[in-house]
Symmetry: C2
Subunit: 338 residues, 2 copies
DNA sequence: TTGTAGGCGTTATCAC
DNA sequence: GTGATAACGCCTACAA
């Protein structure tokens, strides 16, 4: 039914091996016969069977990207970066994510059983020993995203959360002259929130500001909950030296909206900063000062690393750390008193 | 190096075919030998070679999803829906998108050459004859997203833009009592914009309202440009019977922000509605009345159709049309005068 | 119920 | 420069 290399060979009146040669190393075959073969290929609409090919070459040119979730701009951008880099390296990209309660193992198995992967880029919410175990058992080149295990024997790419958060808090204190900074994080167990909070606390100490416990809140990264919180507290927060450090842009947007609803003047009476620099950071009024997290870059670097490891399996493990960038807009303008 | 079926056979002291049987049709083999084989498989950590398997079965359990772009919530949600459904059907999902100037053909070829796909779900910006041509030449089961060609010989899933837009405009006119509706679209050539504009115009006529040419604008779906436009025009637009119909939420958000900046009272003096019901629709003040476009559903349905077609290649072509849903929030509240 | 043998479509290793 | 032929790892008649 499907046209095979033998059909081409017959039509071009050459042997199978010659056809194979013009496909893989066309320069070592006589131009005239090569031409004949090319014609035959075109006429028959021949396309090499990838299975047979893979069987010989032990290579599928497919790599996988496993994510803990597919909701929101964060993952979407990682996919975008990864997809672009995969294509540049000549690979196709399989996307998978844990969903509806199944855990990382399930998805790792599902993906690697069914698919024919040359490698795997993995980001999981909890990269515990067990996950890393199944990962190595797969005997597949792999790289880990956004999980910092110093000295780990595998490639990893991560974002220096601390550096970004520190720059942000320093900006608040030094440029804005903030003396009181309210921290609104995501879940208390979230790794990003933890990293950002740590930096927040350190910078506060460095500046000799005492961090008050009642100024720290843990929510869920969502606009609505942040809005509600701020609706209740904003009046108490407001003051010339006050700022809110929200652990992501969406919550920052909620806080801004609530503050406006409370007739608080932004940024004069309350500064607000976010984190991530997602699309909405440009859509708040005033536009949001935030930290740009290179999400697409992360996907890109992960794939670059992965493809390199596939090519050179024994090269030493690499750890790429991406620097976030402070983006100053208007939600936390210049210090209110000189 | 890698453990093959022969190794398992040797270890279990059975023939290769027996091992193959316990893998594929375990019930037809004696429980005792089956047990022996199972043990051997586990001890050796054997996993069938997917290439060899595919070579026989002519099946990879991988399907592809080709998108015109990977930016933004729209595509991200499609991927999410598609990914979930693929997994439910036992398939892995390869994602690819056109990028940096290359066209649909390039990506279609790249994907189908390298990968080993059982089928393809395709969404392209311009599904002209040429694309459909290469698509059929691939001799792959495929389904088309968001491109309405009545009577086309392939499966397709699309969103009934017109129905959503009509419901929205009718809401504006009947509930709000709008007498003047400003239309702010994306690019004039964009299919979605065209469909939404058509519905807009029809409903206006039906209500006996004359559509004024100077009330129709074509932008680019972005917040910033919509903001600028509204910054200039909002004062002129404002009025008790006035509404703005933005062709997506992001532009609607821009218009709201600009109107607020112009000290126009929303929704009293100007109603604003969007389209898509993305995340930002809940983040504007006031929250946006809009039309929910079932993006994830689209990805999901596309994959459902695709997998069905792979299973039954000769079933008649199906055309699934998804209904958007009017979401009433506050950006265009009840009619201002009774 | 189990084993033997042929074939799936390639690429690689030889000879010629 | 070209042509046989043996892998690659698996599935499936067919025979036992």
């Amino acid at each position: 039914m499907s046209v095979s290399i033998a059909d081409v060979a017959k039509r071009a009146k050459v042997s199978i091996s010659t056809v194979s040669r013009v496909i893989n190393r066309r320069n070592i075959v006589n131009p005239k016969t090569r031409e004949r073969v090319d014609v035959a290929i075109r006429e028959l609409g021949y396309r090499p069977n990838a299975f047979a090919r893979g069987l010989m070459l032990k290579k599928s040119d497919i790599v996988g990207l496993v994510l803990p979730d597919l909701h929101g701009e964060f993952y979407s951008e990682i996919i975008r970066g990864a997809s672009a880099q995969a294509r540049r390296d000549g690979y196709n990209l399989v996307i998978a994510s844990t969903q509806d309660g199944d855990d990382s193992h399930t998805i790792l198995h599902a993906v690697s059983q069914r698919a024919i992967l040359d490698g795997l880029a993995v980001m999981v919410s909890e990269l515990n020993g067990r996950v890393r175990d199944t990962l190595t058992k797969l005997r597949l080149p792999f790289v880990v995203l956004d999980d910092d295990i110093p000295g780990a024997p595998h490639d990893s790419v991560l974002i220096d959360q601390g550096s970004g958060a520190r720059a942000l808090v320093r900006h608040l204190i030094e440029t804005r002259g903030a003396r009181r900074i309210i921290f609104v994080g995501g879940l208390e167990t979230n790794v990003d929130t933890i990293a950002r909070f740590k930096a927040y606390r350190e910078e506060l100490e460095r500046a000799g500001i005492t961090a008050r416990e009642q100024d720290v809140f843990y929510l869920d990264y969502r606009y609505e909950t942040a809005y509600e919180l701020a609706r209740e507290r904003a009046c108490e927060w407001a003051g010339p030296g006050s700022c809110v450090f929200a652990a992501n842009d969406e919550m920052a947007a909620g806080i801004i909206a609530a503050a406006v609803a409370c007739r608080i003047k932004l940024p004069a009476d309350l500064g607000v900063v976010g984190f991530e620099d997602t699309r909405i950071a440009r859509m708040t009024s005033p536009p949001l000062t935030t930290v740009r997290v290179p999400m697409a870059r992360m996907g890109e670097e992960a794939l670059r690393l992965l493809c390199r490891r596939i090519a050179e399996p024994d090269s030493p493990a690499v750890r790429v750390s991406l620097e976030p960038e402070l983006i100053v807009r208007d939600s936390c303008a210049i210090r209110s008193r000189e």
